[in-house]
Subunit: 264 residues, 2 copies
Amino acid sequence: MNKLTTEATTVLRLIGPEPLHRQLADGLRSSIRTGGLAAGEPVPSEAELSAIHGVSRGTVRQALAQLRAEGLIAGGRGRRPVVHPGPLAQPFEELVSFSAWARSMGMEPSGRVLAFDLRPASAVVADALDVPAGTPVHQLVRLRLADGVPMLIERTAFAPGVGEAVAGIDLEHGSIYAALAEHGIRFDAARQAIDAVAASRPDAEHLGVGRGAPLLRVRRRSTAADGRPLEWSDDRYRPDRVTLTIDQLANRPGIARRLSQGGR
Amino acid sequence: MNKLTTEATTVLRLIGPEPLHRQLADGLRSSIRTGGLAAGEPVPSEAELSAIHGVSRGTVRQALAQLRAEGLIAGGRGRRPVVHPGPLAQPFEELVSFSAWARSMGMEPSGRVLAFDLRPASAVVADALDVPAGTPVHQLVRLRLADGVPMLIERTAFAPGVGEAVAGIDLEHGSIYAALAEHGIRFDAARQAIDAVAASRPDAEHLGVGRGAPLLRVRRRSTAADGRPLEWSDDRYRPDRVTLTIDQLANRPGIARRLSQGGR
DNA sequence: GAGTGGTCTAGACCACTCG
DNA sequence: GAGTGGTCTAGACCACTCG
């Protein structure tokens, strides 16, 4: 019996509607986040977890597989898995929501609305949102700041049904993502195309860089669980302020290189 | 019995040292790639796959879980899973190897070596490769072309033991990745930082863009299965030729925004 | 040699989807 | 109501790692 192990891993009360393997994964995940299980340390063995929580080994393996997929633990093959040293923290919310991201970095997010109105969808926007070209959709242009420092300019178009909900939000301070969640509108996935563009004159002025300076551009199409598009966004970052990072594992989806389509 | 299903899915000879679930996953994956299972079409049910190939349902589920993780199939919950409409093809090899990527796009890759020598590791390189600063390491600067068109400039530093193997390769035409694989050196994972930079004068000339034009920069640290660093690379793409794409799913690792570290 | 994770089986119950 | 995938159990054998 490993006393330390037993102490580091709180015995869970496995009840309620949540599947056992998810409860187990959630429990282990928070043990890792709060430091009960430190980076580099071994995770309790599958047999131990099975005995401690009174679930079968299959259930334990299901929970561990989830944590592996999230990059939180690594190892195996006769060896005990260890808590991954320096995993990338990347909750989905922090990808879609600038506000959530800035707060997670200990900064105060804000936004300066440059434009917000109902405009006919361009061909690109119409294609992304699955509406006929020319359909009036809510479109927002915002300068986003963290602790008062400009980080990016976002141009977002919202799908019908989403734009109306956005219209009621405090766009200078509130988080669109959080407000939409209250309306039951949840982001489930996003496809993003990343490249670089020169700053236009107005963008350069808002961001405080020289005209033509390189900006990191991320074009994102976010969808709901059923695949319906929710928003399309063109975000342009100051690359000296924000960098994107990705951990790519063999046989796991990651970044794909693409030939650029047409011009801009 | 579903005749179509049985035809679309070749019965596998499940033998040899490969685990059954991997053989099954490989078989289904190639059915999807070759069009035997078209996008949007339902995958045979777990019970059918189990009966057809004579394996337990657990094994079938393990294979399907892998394909799900790769983004090739989607769906579930009482519904049959379907072949994902328009999944991102992203074999790991095509991320690390420009040659493999170009060929997969139907283009002929080549490289123009601008420099290749043993040079003392800078602080950045030393940190990435886990060697003391100043250690001599093999460093390569190459212009990469597809069908003769310049796509990016790569600056790569190789870990001790890897650089020696690279020295024997035809760098103008061969694939470093493939050649290293023959030496038993396999890339397992990579961490990448993505931003944008202005083209320096020499880079601009090689790539055929104006000086100061925006380039998409990807800095990559590739590691072996045991975590040892293999290479560190700084790749700068013409963004009008190459774009990066990523599918991000909720609760799956993906892109993380980071505050930029120091200057360049 | 003891312990570990990787693999595989057989069986069970359930919520959900569909016609 | 029939079929589906989601979940869970109990048990087994193996290659691998470690001291």
